[in-house]
Symmetry: C2
Subunit: 217 residues, 2 copies
Amino acid sequence: MRIAVLGTGMVGRAIAARATERGHEVTVGTRDVAATRAGDWTGWAAAHPQVALAGHADAAREAELVVNAISGAGSLPALTAVGEENLAGKVLLDIANPLDFGKGFPPTLSVLNDDSLGERIQRAFPRTRVVKALNTLTADLMAHPRQLADGDHTVFVSGDDPDAKKAVTELLTDFGHTDVIDLGDITTARGTEMLLPLWLRLYGRLGTGNFNIKIVR
Amino acid sequence: MRIAVLGTGMVGRAIAARATERGHEVTVGTRDVAATRAGDWTGWAAAHPQVALAGHADAAREAELVVNAISGAGSLPALTAVGEENLAGKVLLDIANPLDFGKGFPPTLSVLNDDSLGERIQRAFPRTRVVKALNTLTADLMAHPRQLADGDHTVFVSGDDPDAKKAVTELLTDFGHTDVIDLGDITTARGTEMLLPLWLRLYGRLGTGNFNIKIVR
């Protein structure tokens, strides 16, 4: 499958590398290709020669599935740069969390309770099939879940389009996730985004991001 | 230990019955003793003859540990009825969640993000040692955690007083909890209260409240 991963940070790199490893054709999207190449991208790219780099719109244009691995604050601007036509009809796997670092650590959420970033993106791009997933665990475990307890932990999908959720669930399963719970429509993204305050405190308490929640039932 | 459990609902009954079973001396507090006796309390009380019933203030006066098992909206009014003197120096195990059912189901939260109900209670009763705990799972599993996966799941404590957290942790362990994570000070209650939106969606999706989260690490 042709996948565009928007975002060159830890999450974008982890997803791009893993999807390539699983046989997908991956282009990473960035706001400014020259600026990204001038940073530490070059070393990472040398270790991942199959991953292409392009501007956001060029990365997404031919993709079947687009991954939003941009920060919460940067998500809507980046998707706007991609353009509605380049996202129409496509599955958008939204991993971002609306974290607000304006008041220090731990960050608060800038969207919550009766709305979510996932819903905002879905409203802004009504022809795109948004699926919120993977925003509840650290980048390395998103991509390599079997590294922790042989994958015996849980991830979630939220979205309005059953086929889009199926496509994302297949990708997650291919990455090694063993327990993917379909929470329901995109409004259920409120629940997973609002898990972040607990996640951040656990991160501080455990001294590592190498943990995940399991829904024991 | 002398324990007062404020609240005659499912949570209050589950905690009162279990604490009695574990050898504690339990009085349940209610706003109106006559009204409670006129309801379905009588049948439950007949099955639990060791559990006493009293007004909020009378229940808490001689207690060493007070449990807030009142609804989120009712918590501060009930604690105010108990009175600051009757709570001074005591451990207050706060189980309540600030759920707002005003907009239908699922409820939103009336306090969140940069505050929590746990913190509000601590600010209102500065001489009381508030510990937020057990607000992340269903009443039956609060009291009988071994019923699910032999207790292989997680609960949390948040609070400013280490000795108070120790006392609550001992009570939880005595109930059968095997994994109690101390998240830190009372501000960490934001994290567990904000877990509720995910919990409520899982409840809808799984069709049962008989589940809990486990922090896999």
